[in-house]
Symmetry: none
């Protein structure tokens, strides 16, 4: 049990090639978007053979999923000592990821493939959503013990409402307020 049951013979896969692929993919994703970007273009930009890409990924989705995953940051659970301070930090963090060109592409992509193809929503769900959901839970439990919120408040539900608003705001931006304010507004209304 000390070794994996694989003994890869021959030349190992080039790390340089791997990184060139991801770099090219992320660049193109930000520049022209998921739909319009081709495997061929990624290969050209990364100075990499198409074969080298197909050896690693069997679809554009898989590739891009990996590329996006590669830039994921660690979620830090805020601890400002105050419930709304913590919540604002979480909202801000989520917004920072969602509302920028690349994040937008990522979310858009996840959404468009989600219903038919799990591959993508899966990654988003487990790698992005889950850690944030847990951070939310911690923050709310802490607030409960400080009697800042009612004890029967469902952390998951609050998280879902926040996420829903974020998603909605991404697609149909509110006119008067900023995204963050609008989302916070919703969270407030739920928690009251």
């Amino acid at each position: 049990m000390s070794k994996d049951n694989k003994k890869p013979q021959g030349r190992p896969r080039s790390i340089a090639a791997h990184q060139a692929i991801l770099k090219a993919a992320l660049e193109l994703l930000a520049e022209i978007g998921y739909e319009r970007m081709s495997i061929e273009a990624i290969a050209n930009r990364g100075k990499v053979g198409k074969t080298t890409i197909y050896r690693r990924y069997s679809s554009k989705e898989e590739l891009v999923a990996d590329a996006i995953e590669s830039i994921r940051e660690e979620v830090v659970i805020p601890d400002t000592g105050n419930f709304w301070g913590d919540i604002d930090a979480l909202i801000e963090n989520a917004a920072g990821i969602t509302f920028n060109p690349l994040g937008r592409q990522a979310v858009t992509m996840i959404i468009s493939s989600a219903s038919s193809n799990s591959e993508f929503a899966q990654i988003y769900s487990t790698k992005y959503l889950q850690p944030r959901r847990e951070a939310f839970t911690v923050v709310i439990e802490r607030a409960k013990s400080r009697k800042e919120v009612r004890v029967d408040l469902d952390a998951n539900f609050v998280f879902d409402v926040m996420s829903g608003m974020m998603l909605y705001g991404l697609i149909f931006p509110p006119i008067s307020e900023s995204w963050e304010e609008y989302v916070r507004h919703a969270v407030e209304a739920i928690i009251n």
Copy 2:
């Protein structure tokens, strides 16, 4: 002087062809989905030349947008005499559109193009969302006059939260509850 500044010469565009295109597009949309469906396939199924399609629409998006618009139904403002009765009717109606194969495709598509391309979100926003938003407003105003809800309740905000939940639920279906229940849950939490 009240005439339109157009006097269309030549053979008018065939209504039969127009309908055949929309019909074929909707069928294919439901059968194989937006991404995998080709203009060529629409032309073949509709027994129509590709040119005839391109004369009307300059992109697949435009075509599908029109096709979806063509099946839009009238929004009926419910009047059950009771606030939650009305709200449930509206949620059910919205869910009926969103959570079925074709509606799912439509929404998915709208979402995936929304951020970059206004064309689509525009139609969705003005043709689908707006009438429902107005229905919501009417229902809530009525409830206010019946003292069922507090007078400072923001109808638009409630609508946005509901829409956000719907969207979110479309992508990451809740496990325990049904979509409608989950959405209603959120609306309740906001209104109380």
Copy 3:
């Protein structure tokens, strides 16, 4: 027998349209050549409906044949009183028609369609070749009576050799000499 057995009813065909078609066709023929010129382009340039063209001609060949015929000039039988003077005049005349941009197009076109399609070669043969062949015959008969050439000289044969050389020279221009000289050279050799 004073009337033709046709009594065309309704509006007669527009002469203006007819001429516009021929004019446009000839212009395009000279500008871009037979192959690259489209009925559509002729219609546009002549400010004429495509229908109007198709009502008159059932093919591009037919149209162009008519257009070319429309600019045909009368063949004048030269009479310089001297055999070689006459022959030179005929050669020069034929060369003038053959070796200019439009004539070149015409001949090229005739050639390219001749083997498969008689339509064109027919017109060329009867309208251009035949009158010249007859002129040749007259000139040679005259020379015979003047004892300038031997009496058993076959006028048709001389004409065919001249035409062949002209054709050949059109396609593979001689390097050292001019076309006319080369053709005359051949005629001389035959007649000796």
Copy 4:
């Protein structure tokens, strides 16, 4: 240092595909002719992707030129010991190439493109005409040394007259005689 400055990378072009293209092109050329034959049809018949054709040739002309070149046979200089025997052999050989369905297509095509486009006339001229011209020269030189023809006879000129007659006969077939006889007739007239 004597190596070619090319080191072709990647998968080499398939010889099988190349031949399939030429075969299909020649078949279609003979069956339906140059004008009516499409790249698409060649691709289908040859079980080859259109791309594979376009990678090799940038136009139908280029393709067909290559196809025709591929079936060129070696010119054998006849040596019957007798001038007219040799000449007849050469005429017969040239006629054999010119007056058959495929040859006719080839020549027709060469002619129709010759004036504007050198590509085609070039190949015909260097690959077909030139070797035959040389054979003619050899045969005539031999005849000169045997005193069968006058020493100042210009071999090139004789060849040009023969070619011209051949061309002419291809387009406007003589009525009474066969092509070969008519051409021979002309050669006789020149030489005597």
